[in-house]
Structure formats: structure tokens, C-alpha cells
């Protein structure tokens, strides 16, 4: 099979491929409230992230915790404040607390029904699965690597961010040193005053470094503005402004029931496209002949990631189109959710990228 050859050389995949895959998975999670599909999806995403994660130190644990918190908050809020709004199967009763008039519609306590718990659980799981999917993007390909693909007009912003990301660990080291020094002098290093005592020397050292960096950047020719850019900048500014007015009008249109939806949506899309187009405008200040250092390849493994993601999104949309209720199990009346197998298979296809992509260089022993 080709897979053997694809997998031969350990390498990192193009970051855009992973991010598109993760966003596609998030779209799938957003489209479904079926807990079985969501569990399969989260399992698939975590599996891929664990097997193909770029860095062994970056784990999914944080995002799984975040997802659990989202589900927890949603369910607890429903138990405490739900008041048995939907459903008839009362599980238990919370002690009811009468609230003063100004609290409005808030109810505290009261009956807790199985139906409302299921509803909160399904909704919470859908959001939690989205968080896991998008978190997987940062585990599979760090946002730092995406920075290499910013268009030329965002060159300054991108450079600023790279400076920030490079200096932050140094500043943290400085802070630890300063903090250790404070403790050696018998301070416990707690409280705002101590934070301030540590922050001042750290920032002072950082700013001194920043000026050295600026001098070295200027001496290497960074920051030469091109001639005659003023005109392009004005045109781009006008486009951004027009685009944002379009977006705002579109949003206003979508917020009122009276306007025709195609007009409002069109206004929004055209506006967003116009504003975003300026980012890719010609004449961005990339110096001529600036090349990318060791650009990431885009080969069959990247295509396989996109194809797998596309298949699972298509599967979910086809299932929803065929039967709108298939992926939103009924809660009133409550029924055991069944497993729509085309959607489950689609999600399974997305997990196949763990086998169609090369192993990241530093984790060879993780071959599936």
C-alpha cells in the first residue's frame, strides 16, 4: 500500500492541514448533539492528537479538563436553576429558595427532571467536543508554526508576535531569578507588592534588551519602508472601512426579523471579503526575494488529512439532510439515542489520519 511509503520519513505535517482538519472536526461536533457520535468523535480526536501531536509535552489533558468543566457547569446550572422547565420525569427535588422580585426570572431549586438533564448534557457535550477539537489543533501543530504563513501585509504584526514569543521565556527566567533573590532576602514572594517588586526589574531588563534588538534590526535593514506606499495604504484603508460598514450593516440585517436574509447575509459576506482582501493585497512590504526557510511540504499525507476531514463533514451533512432529527436525539419525550451509522463511519474516517500521516520526528516509538 502507499501508506507505507507515506509513513517512511518521520516529519511534521503542514500546520494548515492539521488546523483545517481540526476545524472540520469542530464543525462536525457543532452539527451533532447525539452523545454517542460525540463520544466517538472525541475519542477519535484525542487518539489522533496523542499519536500525531507535534510535541510530547503538549497534551490534550488541559482541553479535556476544559471540556469537562463546560459539561459540568451546564449540568449543574440546569440542576440548580433549571426548575424543571421541561419534561415530566422528576428525578429529585432541590430545596426551593424564594428569591426577591428584582432577580427577574431566576429560579433557585425546584424539581429536577431527567429530560432537562439530558438536554443540558447533550448541549454541553456538543460544546465540549468542539473545544476538544479546536484544542487538538494546537496540540497537532503549534500556532507558532502557523505564523510562518502570515501574508506579507501582516509581516510587522507577525514579527512583533515572534519577538514577543521569543522574549517571554527569557523574561520568565528573569522573573524566577528576581523572585529567588527576593526569597533569599527573606521575603515570601507573595502578594501584589511582591509581584510589583519582581515585575519592575524584569521589565526594565526586557526593555533594555528590546532597544538592543531594535538597534540590531535597524542595522540589518529591517524597517525600510517602501516608497510610494501611502496611496496603496489609503486604498486599503478605504476597503477595510467599507468592508466593516458592510459587516456591521449585514449584522444589523441579520438581527432584525424584517430584512431579507439573503441581502443581509450577502452584505456581511461581501463586507468581510472586502476587509479581509486587504490582508492579501499586493504591495505588502515583503522585501523582494524574501524566501521561506525550509518551507513545509504539501504532499499526499496532507491531502489525506483534508480528504478524511472532508468525508466526515460530508457524512454528517448528508445524515442531517436525509433526516434532520438524526443527530439531535429527542429529549421530550426522552428516548435512548440511537447510533446513526453513516455519521459514525464518517467520524471513523477522520480518525484514519492517524495511520495515513507520517510520525512526528521525536516520537518514533509511537507508531500505531
Amino acid at each position: 500500500m502507499i501508506m507505507g511509503t507515506v509513513r517512511a520519513v518521520p516529519r511534521l505535517l503542514h500546520p494548515l492541514a492539521w488546523w483545517m482538519w481540526a476545524v472540520a472536526m469542530a464543525v462536525v461536533a457543532n452539527r451533532t448533539r447525539n452523545p454517542l457520535i460525540l463520544v466517538i468523535l472525541v475519542a477519535a480526536v484525542v487518539l489522533v492528537a496523542e499519536l500525531r501531536g507535534e510535541d510530547r509535552d503538549r497534551r490534550m489533558t488541559l482541553f479535556l479538563w476544559l471540556a469537562a468543566v463546560v459539561v459540568g457547569i451546564r449540568v449543574v446550572a440546569q440542576i440548580v436553576f433549571g426548575g424543571g422547565a421541561i419534561g415530566t420525569t422528576v428525578l429529585f427535588r432541590m430545596p426551593q429558595v424564594p428569591l426577591p422580585e428584582w432577580t427577574g426570572a431566576v429560579r433557585l431549586g425546584g424539581p429536577v427532571t431527567l429530560e432537562e438533564l439530558a438536554d443540558a448534557l447533550y448541549g454541553g457535550m456538543s460544546v465540549a467536543a468542539m473545544i476538544v477539537c479546536l484544542g487538538a489543533a494546537t496540540v497537532l501543530a503549534s500556532p507558532r508554526r502557523l505564523l510562518r504563513y502570515v501574508p506579507a501585509t501582516l509581516y510587522e504584526v507577525g514579527t512583533t508576535l515572534v519577538v514577543g514569543l521569543t522574549y517571554a521565556p527569557m523574561l520568565m527566567d528573569d522573573a524566577r531569578t528576581a523572585w529567588a533573590a527576593r526569597r533569599l532576602r527573606g521575603r515570601d514572594g507573595r502578594g501584589p507588592r511582591e509581584v510589583a517588586r519582581v515585575a519592575a526589574p524584569v521589565l526594565s531588563a526586557g526593555l533594555r534588551r528590546s532597544m538592543a534588538l531594535a538597534a540590531s534590526m535597524e542595522s540589518r535593514g529591517y524597517g525600510r519602508p517602501g516608497a510610494g506606499r501611502q496611496g496603496t495604504r489609503r486604498v486599503a484603508g478605504a476597503m477595510v472601512l467599507t468592508g466593516m460598514v458592510g459587516v456591521a450593516l449585514g449584522v444589523f440585517g441579520l438581527m432584525s426579523a424584517g430584512t431579507s436574509r439573503p441581502v443581509a447575509a450577502g452584505c456581511l459576506l461581501v463586507g468581510a471579503a472586502l476587509a479581509t482582501a486587504t490582508v492579501w493585497r499586493p504591495g505588502g512590504r515583503r522585501p523582494p526575494g524574501r524566501t521561506v526557510y525550509r518551507p513545509d511540504r504539501w504532499s499526499s499525507a496532507e491531502w489525506s488529512v483534508l480528504i478524511c476531514a472532508g468525508v466526515s463533514v460530508a457524512a454528517v451533512f448528508v445524515v442531517v439532510a436525509a433526516d434532520p432529527g438524526a443527530l439531535t436525539p429527542s429529549t421530550v419525550p426522552l428516548s435512548v439515542p440511537d447510533l446513526p451509522w453513516p455519521a459514525a463511519l464518517g467520524v471513523g474516517v477522520a480518525a484514519m489520519v492517524a495511520w495515513t500521516t507520517p510520525v512526528p520526528p521525536d516520537r518514533m516509538e509511537h507508531r500505531p
Binding site: N30, L62, V70, R74, A77, Q78, G82, G104, A105, V106, V127, M130, L134, S142, P143, R144, T153, E156, V157, T159, V163, G164, L165, Y167, A168, L171, M172, A175, V195, A196, R197, A199, V202, L203, G206, R208, S210, M211, L213, A214, A215, M217, E218, R224, P225, R234, A236, G237, V240, L241, M244, A248, V251, L254, M255, A257, A272, T278, V279, G284
Partner: protein
């Protein structure tokens, strides 16, 4: 700490940086070009951004957004990310010189590092100290960019980039911009020798308190429809009106997020009281040393 000891390296720093900036012919003193265009772009972005935060209160029953429900949250997340790219390109492209890049980069590094260090302590964010003081020292427009970039750097450093990032970036940009708009800021920025008044630390602290709480109030808003679900009297109800949803949100915020937002505001205020003026003086000195504010004149005979 004293201004005197920085005089000698300061002159050398501006000595090596000065000719380069005069050769570039840049007329901007630093950072984002303060022009009508930049203000218009920031203003338009702020209006659109405010809509992205508050759409759920104004979406009329039967409208597209009300029908979309929680999907509106994701739509606006994508929209804000696109607009952030457009605004960043517009404000920075061709306007940032090496010194601006280095200064804003280091400030966002400091903010991001504080965010990483503070991540362990119950969600307290010492980052806001940097946002407030940087906004005050750099002015509203450059502060706007610095705020957004600081948040982005913090997100990348802590590995928490997601649909929440565009909203957090915009809210942080507002926090820093607001600090730049505080009274008396223009005098501090135009005149290097101007001494901040004695009340400076109290002004910064009061603003830090308000901004820290307001930041939380806004950023809890974007995920409210997703998070609260349909819990009675707390969640987003697409069929209810503006007032009902506002009271629902207020109850939600008071009961959940305020527990984090109030400590954040108080911490920012305390940090501003303890270190605000010192850090402000540091950033101002860095700006002066880089010769940012020095009017650049081009004398052809000097090149000989």
C-alpha cells in the same frame, strides 16, 4: 530608577538609531500612525466588535441570528478573527519600524509571561498591569495594537488558542486603548520631561479596577449563549426581548463569572498602586531612549 543614570546609554541608543530613522524619512513619531484613517479603522472595528459581543441582546425574535442560536457565537468568532487580521495589517503595515516592533514585542512578551506565571493562581491575571500601563505610555492607537498582540502572545504561550481568542484580543485591545484615553495622557506622551502627577497611581488603579471587571463582563458575554444553555432565568432565550436577556445575563454573570472578574479587577488595581508609576516611567524612558518622540529632520549636508 533615577533618570540621571539612563542619560549616557540613552544618548548612545538614540545615536545609533537616529540616522536610520531619518534615512527612512518616517514622520511618525512611533507606532501606529495617528491619523484620521487609523482612528476610523479602529472605530469601525470597535463598533463591529461591540456587535460581536452583544448581538444576543439585539437579535429580534424571528431574525436569522436568533434562529441560529449558539451558532452566532462561532460565526462572530470567525468574523472577529478576520477583522483582527485586516485591522492589524492596516495599522501596522508600513507603519511599524524596528523600534516599535521591538518595544511592542517585549511588552507583549512581558504580558504573556505574566499570564503564564499567573495561570496557576486561580485565574488571576497580572497581565492587566502591563496592558494598563502600556496603553497609558503608548497612547490609544498603539495601545490598541499592543493589547491585542499581548493577549495573542499569552494565548500562544499558554497553548490556549481557540474561538475565544479573537474576543479576548479585542477586549484587551480596548483595555489598553482606554488607558491611552485617560485624561492627562497626551501631555505625558508629548513631553518627555513631563512628570506624572502624584495622583497618577490612583488614576491607574481606579482604571485597572474598572477595566479588569469590565473585561470579564464582556468576555463572559461571548460564550454565555453556549455556556449557560437554557437554564431558566440564566440562559440565552432567543424568543425573549432585550431586557429579559440582559437581566438573564446579569444574573449569569453575578452568579458565575463575577467570582473571577472582581478579584482580577482588584488585583490589577493593587498592582497598579504598587508598581504602576515605576513601570510607566520605565516604558516612557524606553520610548525616549529609542528617540521615538524626537522630531526627525533630514539635513542633506549632514550626510557628508
Amino acid at each position: 530608577m533615577s533618570v540621571g543614570d539612563s542619560a549616557a546609554p540613552g544618548s548612545s541608543a538614540s545615536g545609533c538609531a537616529g540616522p536610520a530613522s531619518s534615512a527612512s524619512g518616517s514622520t511618525a513619531t512611533m507606532g501606529v500612525r495617528g491619523g484620521g484613517l487609523s482612528w476610523l479603522v479602529v472605530g469601525a472595528a470597535s463598533v463591529t466588535g461591540l456587535l460581536a459581543f452583544t448581538w444576543m441582546f439585539f437579535a429580534g425574535p424571528g431574525s436569522f441570528l436568533a434562529a441560529a442560536g449558539t451558532d452566532g457565537t462561532w460565526l462572530f468568532s470567525v468574523l472577529l478573527a478576520l477583522l483582527a487580521a485586516a485591522v492589524g495589517a492596516q495599522l501596522a503595515s508600513g507603519a511599524f519600524d524596528a523600534k516599535t516592533v521591538a518595544l511592542i514585542g517585549v511588552l507583549s512578551a512581558a504580558g504573556g509571561a505574566l499570564r503564564v506565571l499567573g495561570a496557576g493562581t486561580a485565574g488571576l491575571d497580572p497581565m492587566f498591569l502591563v496592558l494598563v500601563v502600556a496603553g497609558r505610555a503608548l497612547g490609544p492607537l498603539t495601545g490598541f495594537v499592543t493589547g491585542g498582540l499581548t493577549m495573542l502572545a499569552g494565548g500562544v504561550l499558554t497553548g490556549r488558542v481557540g474561538p475565544w481568542t479573537p474576543f479576548q484580543m479585542l477586549a484587551c485591545a480596548w483595555v489598553a486603548m482606554g488607558a491611552g484615553l485617560l485624561p492627562g495622557g497626551r501631555r505625558l506622551r508629548d513631553d518627555d520631561a513631563a512628570r506624572p502627577p502624584r495622583s497618577e497611581r490612583w488614576l491607574l488603579a481606579a482604571y485597572g479596577l474598572v477595566a479588569g471587571v469590565a473585561y470579564g463582563f464582556l468576555t463572559s458575554m461571548w460564550f454565555w449563549p453556549v455556556m449557560a444553555g437554557s437554564a431558566g432565568g440564566l440562559g440565552y432565550d432567543a424568543t425573549a426581548g432585550t431586557v429579559a436577556n440582559l437581566t438573564n445575563y446579569l444574573s449569569f454573570w453575578l452568579l458565575t463569572a463575577m467570582g473571577w472578574d472582581l478579584p482580577r479587577g482588584i488585583l490589577t488595581a493593587l498592582l497598579c498602586l504598587a508598581a504602576g508609576p515605576a513601570i510607566l516611567a520605565m516604558i516612557r524612558r524606553a520610548i525616549t531612549r529609542a528617540g521615538f518622540a524626537a522630531p526627525v529632520r533630514f539635513h542633506p549636508e549632514e550626510r557628508l
